[in-house]
């Protein structure tokens, strides 16, 4: 079975994020980039499926040197191949354009299954998996916490998280699956894996072969701003009894939330 995994580099979740001076991007100073945590789970799942059913895992990313570094990590983890679309003409500016580029690469690779994280923890859009599935006209299962691929590689059972419940889906392959925390516990790269990855190349995708128009974007960013400041808080003094009495009074009488 051939599995394709889409990966993105994002600032580590303990990063402080500030608007840049231009007012429409974030300030890159001091940010450390890692593979999107949900994409790491997708890579792990792809490797586990391959270990069970055999086949090949191809990691795909869009971007420059940072994306390439993430793809190198995927090779070190055990992916067989990695491909990068160096987006020099900056086609990928919104979810739709990213999905269009990924779908074009996926069509060319023709995998049996596509895995990616349920969302990137930078933009938080949760858009690309469903959009890629639509552009390929494939079924989808998003926010998946459990996945079983049938031994013949033709169908799968996926459990997806919804509000207060888990939906169990029976789906036909090929399909797009997006991974949620809980699906698995991602491995670390072994020394052997890291050494082996050094001998592998991250293959470039020639954007001109994808047959895509200049501008794909449908969304324009007009500003990036800090969140609204929270009002000054207050501390409640005294022993537990008086703290609790005052808290409940405030919640009941002033804030009217109980």
């Amino acid at each position: 079975m051939k599995i394709l995994v889409c990966v993105k580099q994002v600032p580590a979740t303990d990063s402080r994020i500030k608007p840049a001076a231009d007012g429409i991007t974030i300030d890159p100073a001091g940010l450390e980039y890692v593979i999107n945590p949900y994409d790491e789970i997708a890579v792990e799942e792809a490797l586990r499926i391959k270990e069970k059913l055999g086949g090949e895992v191809v990691a795909v990313g869009i971007g420059g040197a940072r994306a390439e570094e993430g793809l190198r990590t995927c090779l070190a983890l055990g992916c067989d191949r990695a491909r990068i679309l160096k987006d020099d003409s900056r086609l990928a500016t919104d979810a739709q354009s990213v999905a269009t580029l990924l779908a074009a690469i996926i069509r060319a690779e023709s995998p049996d299954l596509v895995l990616m994280g349920k969302q990137a923890v930078d933009d938080d859009q949760m858009a690309v998996p469903s959009m890629v599935a639509e552009l390929l006209d494939w079924p989808q299962a998003t926010v998946v916490v459990k996945l079983e691929i049938a031994p013949d590689g033709k169908t799968a059972t996926a459990e997806r998280e919804i509000e207060g419940a888990v939906e169990v889906l029976a789906l036909q392959l090929p399909a797009v699956i997006s991974s949620q925390k809980g699906l698995n516990e991602p491995r670390y790269a072994s020394l052997k894996g890291i050494m082996a990855a050094k001998k592998k190349a991250v293959e470039p995708v020639d954007a001109s072969t994808l047959g895509l128009a200049d501008s794909l974007a449908l969304v324009r960013t007009t500003a990036v701003s800090p969140p609204p400041p929270r009002p000054e808080g207050r501390r409640l003094d005294g022993d537990a009894d008086s703290q609790v009495r005052e808290l409940v009074r405030l919640l009941h009488e002033d804030y009217k939330v109980i």
Binding site: P11, V219, R235
Partner: protein, 325 residues
């Protein structure tokens, strides 16, 4: 005249609060610009929901009623919503950013080449000329976004942010959507609900969360009891989820859920940046922690420095007393 289409979510024959929120927001926008609000409801045996959609703001309701739509499926629901979009010639689509909205809205947006503006907390403008504000990085920054020129938008609304406003006596016309040709390749075969009667995090008006300060998994019973006293949901910090004290579905923060309840009570949570990102858009934040220097107090409206094992049982009893009276 501009037309706003609301994809009004129902599950199991009940319309979701996120649908009420989207309908009422559409109503406000339509009233401000002289437009109309249409809704589409997909399901099986859902005709009775049309008056509810009308009360919350719809002038016209498209009903896609078919046994194959009894359970949600991305493909089935996307297809009938697409048909309603084409029937209504809408120039703006709204839906709640629920699990269903997050799954199907991007698929429909890609199909119809609509600008997808997900999980927004502010929405202004009319017709195709809208502008939205959405949090990124779980709320560490906000981004203002618009459709590019000549593009219509599909906007999903963050739950608990836009006010639902029913108006009694309001009525709507209805129309059936063609349900022929449903091709569902990913089908729900089972739904396993968590413990009955429990409130889900992203829908909750009150969330009570526990962190490392509760000392062990057994203390979640105490946190749950306080959550139950408020009629709220149980949350947790990443530290305790990673430690295996509680399931990931309870995690609040950048790699968990981003929440905006009316009241958020943080118990024994120090306030790591990725947790603060996920909950600092809550309306009222209460922090209970023994360390008065903990970062959680920087975002708290009300801070209680003290022993949570002493405070929480007393608070639970007091909340029960007030809510019973």
């Amino acid at each position: 005249m501009s037309t706003i289409l609301v994809v009004a979510e129902q599950r199991g024959g009940s319309m979701k609060k996120t649908a009420h929120e989207a309908l009422s927001q559409a109503r406000r926008m339509a009233d401000a610009s002289g437009g109309r609000v249409v809704a589409v409801i997909a399901g099986s045996g859902i005709k009775g929901l049309a008056p509810e959609a009308a009360r919350f703001g719809a002038d016209h309701v498209y009903l896609a009623d078919h046994s194959d739509l009894a359970d949600y499926s991305t493909e089935g629901y996307t297809l009938v919503a697409q048909r309603a979009f084409q029937m209504s010639a809408a120039d703006l689509v709204l839906m709640g950013a629920s699990a269903m909205g997050k799954d199907m809205a991007p698929r429909l947006a890609a199909r119809l080449k609509l600008a997808y503006l997900p999980d927004v907390v502010e929405l202004t403008g009319s017709g195709a000329l809208v502008s939205a504000v959405r949090p990124m990085y779980a709320g560490k920054v906000r981004v203002s976004v618009q459709p590019t020129d000549g593009t219509r938008a599909f906007v999903t609304l963050r739950p608990n942010v836009f006010r639902p406003l029913p108006v009694e006596g309001r009525t709507a016309t209805t129309e059936a959507v063609d349900t022929a040709g449903l091709s569902i390749r990913a089908r729900v075969v089972d739904t396993r609900a968590e413990a009955a009667g429990r409130v889900e995090l992203t829908e909750a008006d009150v969330i009570v969360s526990g962190g490392r300060g509760i000392k062990g998994p057994e203390s979640f019973a105490m946190i749950q009891e306080l959550a139950d006293a408020f009629g709220g949901a149980l949350g947790a910090s990443r530290a305790v989820v990673d430690a295996g004290w509680i399931d990931h579905s309870h995690q609040v923060g950048q790699t968990g859920k981003t929440v905006s309840p009316g009241l958020y009570v943080a118990c024994g949570i120090s306030g790591a940046i990725q947790h603060l990102a996920g909950m600092s858009s809550s309306k009222i934040i209460v922090a209970i922690n023994k360390d008065g220097e903990a970062p959680i107090f920087k975002v708290a409206d009300i801070g209680l420095v003290g022993d949570l094992f002493d405070i929480i049982p007393k608070l639970t009893a007091e909340v029960k007393r007030i809510r019973a009276s």
